[in-house]
């Protein structure tokens, strides 16, 4: 017989109550564990995605630069355009290795309830910004009007392969798939790529471009080059680092709010344990008195109550962590639909360190919750509880 065994067996006497109290903590730890896992994974996935873009700077139309850049990265359409002649001004700037235009738009097909994101590019240049791209097939030429390259996810969903034809009813045009990209794990998997001129033509935006994607020779000069770029009229500059920072700030604000909710959930869970332990002690007053009569000291009673409370808290922590791990995909699906600029890669990163943090929180909750009930229990006098029943 040891204290742990005694505590565990005491908890078995009120199974339903014990289980329900554990759930209170489990829910709070589930939210905490999910948030911690999400925070790390999101940041990592987003950073990776940004780094794989190969683009150091985006020159976008003047307006809301950070939002515009983020939209461009994720296939959203912005209502403003640059002129193609701006490209020439950009390319002249010292330190720029490559400047290539992008035209971005969407085709909505109401019958299929589908939105196809069209990226107009100069393939030979754009590919230099995408060292990670692997193509099955071949790219189109700049003046090609009948070819299309598609992302891996699009090919999978629509069951396209090289040689197939893609028909867009809204624009009344058929394109032949000349290439299918291998899976990138990023946003490119979901796009259709057309020659720039062809994209401008079908959307009636000849001479217009959405942005200029820029790769610079020396990353340390990004600030200097950005300043020079901004001297060009109608152009605003966004570095990928800024985009990343802005998105993370946005998510950071949401995270702060969620953390507040987690704190409240933890407080409620703690109060739940405190309440349960007080009720238990009230019911077990006689038993505690007997313990004292048969040799238990105040500290023995305190130790017993603390162990019982810690068992509840730790089991709740483990359950909450496991639920978060098992339900991570479900939670990710919900989060992905709820937050902007969600990276394509998995956002939830599960680490043992996160698990240990969750358990540590459970232990802290357990200790805090045990303080008052254990002190109350230790104050029970053996005499006041030993009453003969007449």
């Amino acid at each position: 017989m040891n204290f742990f065994r005694l505590a565990y067996k005491n908890l078995l006497r009120r199974k339903i109550r014990t289980v329900l109290t554990i759930q209170g903590i489990a829910i709070a730890i589930f939210v905490l564990f999910s948030l911690l896992s999400f925070q790390e994974g999101y940041q990592k996935s987003l950073t990776q995605e940004m780094e794989e873009m190969g683009i150091n700077i985006l020159a976008v139309p003047k307006g809301c630069p950070y939002e515009a850049a983020s939209l461009i990265v994720h296939g959203g359409v912005i209502p403003k355009y640059l002129d193609e002649k701006d490209l020439a001004s950009v390319s002249k700037i010292d330190g720029i290795e490559l400047a290539t235009p992008i035209f971005l738009s969407q085709i909505y097909e109401p019958e299929q309830e589908r939105t196809s994101i069209i990226y107009g590019i100069k393939a030979q240049d754009y590919v230099k910004l995408k060292p990670g791209w692997k193509l099955n097939g071949e790219y189109f030429n700049d003046n090609d009007t009948a070819s299309i390259v598609i992302g891996n996810e699009v090919a999978y969903q629509e069951k396209f392969s090289v040689g197939d034809e893609v028909y867009f009813p809204t624009v009344g045009k058929v394109y032949k798939v000349t290439g299918v990209l291998a899976r990138t794990g990023g946003q490119d998997d979901g796009f259709y790529f057309l020659p720039l001129a062809e994209a401008q033509r079908i959307f009636d935006k000849i001479g217009k471009i959405t942005a200029v994607a820029i790769k610079i020779k020396d990353l340390s000069k990004v600030g200097e080059i950005s300043k020079t770029l901004e001297e060009i009229p109608d152009i605003q500059v966004v570095t990928m680092a800024q985009v990343l920072g802005t998105i993370l700030n946005l998510v950071g604000s949401a995270r702060t709010l969620i953390f507040s909710v987690v704190v409240i959930a933890l407080i409620i869970g703690t109060l739940g344990i405190v309440n349960t332990m007080f009720v238990t002690i009230y019911e077990r007053k006689k038993e505690i008195g007997i313990f004292k009569a048969i040799g238990a000291g105040n500290f023995d009673i305190i130790k017993l109550i603390i162990i019982e409370t810690l068992i509840i808290a730790i089991l709740g922590g483990v359950e909450g962590s496991i639920l978060s791990f098992v339900g991570g995909r479900l939670v990710e699906g919900f989060v992905r639909s709820a937050i902007p600029y969600a990276p394509k890669r998995m956002m939830f990163t599960f680490r043992f360190s996160t698990f240990f943090i969750a358990i540590a929180y459970s232990i802290i909750i357990g200790v805090i919750a045990a303080i008052f009930p254990s002190l109350k229990a230790s104050s029970v006098s053996p005499l006041e509880t030993i009453r003969k029943e007449e």
């Binding site: 017989m1 065994r5 005491n10 006497r13 040799g295 238990a296 053996p382 030993i386």
Partner: protein
């Protein structure tokens, strides 16, 4: 009788409860000496002070007045109450006493062996090999070690409670109405156990309504009425 034979010496023990303006003398000026290895039964009607006296002798409660010595250790000094802390009283109880209660108070989720071994946990004593088995055998409970209290009869449960009181090798067993919830057959069995224990040198003090049972097994009977000894031990024995 040689004073040294008395392991408990109580002199003019009084316990007064205040109920508003009224004072109730639960125990009034009781003097009694307890001899080692004897089986004492305190008998009397309800409210006679049996339980209160046992609680005082067992250091579960402190007297309003009086003097109490246990194994020559002064616990309460007549007139001047030594303000012993709960911790000190607990230590004294641990050192000398084992307790048996009317309602058994076994933990329902612990087995018989685990219930018996509980005091060893609180006394921080290691369970010696065979120790629990010895207790089970002494009480006729061998083979019941893994059973739960719900699987035992009333008499068996009370024997488990006695086993719990015995496991730490106390010198004195205090049993307050140990047969109150038992039928006559089991009650007699329990008193037989107490008798055997006293023959092994353990001093047993019980409170009981059952005078006939007390007369059958006890070495000494002390009658109480209205908080005072009326027979048997009218004075110091």
């Amino acid at each position: 009788m040689n004073n040294d034979q008395f392991i408990i010496k109580a002199e003019s023990l009084t316990k007064v409860y205040k109920m508003g303006r009224e004072e109730i003398h639960a125990v009034a000026d009781v003097s009694v000496n307890i001899e080692k290895g004897k089986f004492y039964s305190f008998v009397g009607p309800s409210g006679s002070g049996k339980s209160t006296l046992l609680n005082l002798l067992g250091v579960l409660d402190s007297p309003s007045r009086g003097r109490l010595t246990i194994f020559e250790e002064e616990i309460y000094n007549g007139g001047k109450k030594r303000n012993l802390s709960q911790g000190t009283l607990t230590a004294i109880r641990r050192k000398y006493f084992g307790f048996v209660f009317q309602n058994f108070y076994l933990l329902p989720t612990l087995t018989v062996s685990e219930n018996i071994s509980l005091p060893l946990l609180f006394l921080k004593k290691k369970t010696e090999p065979g120790q629990i088995l010895n207790v089970l055998q002494k009480l006729g409970l061998e083979g019941r070690g893994r059973h739960l209290p719900s699987q035992l009869s009333g008499g068996e449960m009370q024997r488990v409670a006695i086993g719990r009181a015995l496991v730490a090798n106390p010198q004195i067993i205090i049993a307050d109405e140990p047969t109150g919830n038992l039928d006559s057959k089991n009650a007699a069995m329990v008193f037989e156990v107490f008798k055997k224990l006293s023959q092994e040198g353990i001093t047993v003090l019980t409170a009981t309504h059952d005078v006939q049972l007390a007369q059958t097994c006890s070495d000494k009977i002390i009658r109480l009425k209205d908080g005072k000894i009326v027979e048997g031990e009218a004075g110091i024995c």
